[in-house]
């Protein structure tokens, strides 16, 4: 059971710990003032990776091997030299895609054991990087970056496309599936040797109607898989909620999800594949809770029915938006946490039936993760 939660915000990294009376409190602060875009706690809480977005001075990686007491900078994933004369423009905006990491948006361990040092990292503008030495060095996955269809990925909320979800198959670490906003779902069976665009059944309504089912321009906001049943994927998509039972090859759209099927975040129970959580918002330019009532939704039956959970969440109007990495579940499947753009943080110890407010005054929250 995890008693520690890491929270990355617009103004630093926060450690949140559970005291012996069951209260969750802020226990530590690091990188105060600096945006923390992504986190990865590993090895029983000893090793933590934190990705910083220093604005003027670029993206940086920091790593602690003692639970956050000391940090040291490690290399940030960097693009190789851009070939002279290469045309590489975002198709939606028509502007040059920088061959430079703009935001570290996904960070996951490889499947060959925590101690292998294998890591995958997804960035804006759409690069996937691989490390075999715990982040001491990174290699751009050229097979994906050089794929002709990569040039058709588009920026969504950001100017350029980005990889925000990376799922390593616990049965076979060579099988890695990623999701791109906006560029659909991609999978490799040979650890990045080759890639396939998958995603039949996904649907968008922001492209011309005859492209609605094209797997390429699908704006997956976030995709997660059930670790105990990794063929089951859950997707919060720009146009709704989708479920896959075959590793992302085919998807089924869930209709009539209350109060809205729009949002960014999704979490799945680590062993019960039919149980998943979402934090809905009003589609799609307005982006705050439906009728300003902040709720979490949960299905326990694969999406046939949804519970609308609000105990412990604000009674007053709330304008909190939950970013795609702002909802997390602990390994026990009981504890969840989510943090908002308004700087509020909640924890549940009963699968979302009730929520405890940890703070209403944090900086805007980009990511939350329980200690591994």
């Amino acid at each position: 059971m995890s008693d520690c939660l890491w929270v990355g915000t617009r103004k630093g990294l926060f450690g949140v710990a559970r005291d012996n009376r069951g209260r969750w409190r802020i226990a530590g602060t690091w990188f105060a003032g600096d945006p923390v875009s992504m986190l990865l706690p590993q090895r029983g809480g000893r090793r933590i990776h934190a990705a910083l977005d220093l604005g003027h001075f670029g993206v940086k990686m920091q790593r602690s091997d003692d639970g956050g007491k000391r940090w040291r900078e490690t290399p940030a994933p960097a693009f190789p030299p851009r070939p002279d004369g290469l045309e590489d423009k975002d198709p939606m905006r028509g502007i040059d895609i920088p061959w430079s990491s703009k935001l570290i948006w996904a960070l996951e361990p490889g499947g060959a054991g925590e101690d292998s040092g294998e890591l995958w990292c997804g960035v804006i503008p759409g690069g996937l990087f691989h490390s075999v030495d715990g982040g001491d060095s990174w290699t751009l996955v050229r097979s994906l970056w050089d794929h002709p269809l990569r040039k058709k990925w588009m920026g969504g909320g950001y100017d350029f496309a980005g990889i925000h979800s990376i799922m390593v198959d616990p049965r076979d670490a060579r099988h890695v599936t990623i999701a791109v906003s906006t560029g659909g779902v991609w999978t490799t069976k040979d650890k990045g040797g080759s890639w396939a665009l998958i995603g039949k059944g996904l649907r968008n309504v922001y492209m011309p109607p005859d492209m609605a089912g094209d797997p390429l321009p699908q704006d997956a906001h976030r995709v997660v898989h059930c670790p105990a049943k990794p063929d089951r994927l859950w997707m919060q998509h720009h146009n709704g909620i989708f479920r896959s039972d075959d590793g992302g090859e085919h998807w089924q759209e869930l209709h009539d999800v209350p109060p809205s099927s729009f949002g960014f975040a999704v979490a799945v129970h680590p062993t019960e594949a039919d149980t998943a959580w979402f934090v809905p918002a009003t589609k799609d330019e307005r982006r705050f809770p439906v009728n300003a009532r902040l709720v979490v939704t949960r299905t326990r039956d694969g999406g046939k029915h949804f519970d609308v959970l609000s105990k412990g969440l604000p009674d007053e109007p709330a304008y909190d938006l939950i970013y795609r990495h702002g909802l997390a579940i602990a390994a026990d499947g009981e504890r969840l946490a989510f943090g908002s753009t308004t700087g509020s943080l909640w924890v549940s110890e009963d699968q979302g039936d009730s929520w405890q407010n940890v703070s209403k005054h944090l900086p805007p929250i980009s990511c939350v993760r329980f200690e591994a």
């Binding site: 670029g58 030299p81 430079s100």
Partner: protein, 89 residues
């Protein structure tokens, strides 16, 4: 040799001691400096070696013209100052 200094805003993030560095262009001076201070490179230049969008490089009191190739010439008595631009961040 050219005098190279950095904005104090960088000091809390990475060690950037001022130094007198040899080189006929801004690119050469910075490349020489980064040999001794390799971490600083990623704070000033992007992955392609261009000046980061929200970093400004002055030679004496003038902003450099070539932010991509850093080919602006420098002389023995010139000062280079690497600043945090007012934009962005």
């Amino acid at each position: 040799m050219t005098m190279l200094r950095f904005t104090p805003n960088l000091h809390r993030l990475v060690d950037t001691p001022s130094a007198r560095v040899a080189g006929a262009t801004v690119a050469q001076v910075l490349a020489c400096y980064f040999l001794a201070n390799p971490r600083v490179r990623g704070y000033v230049l992007d992955d392609q070696g261009a000046v980061r969008k929200h970093v400004a490089v002055f030679v004496n009191r003038e902003l450099i013209r070539d932010r991509i190739g850093l080919s602006d010439p420098v002389g023995e008595n010139d000062d280079i100052f690497v600043a945090q631009a007012l934009s962005g961040g």
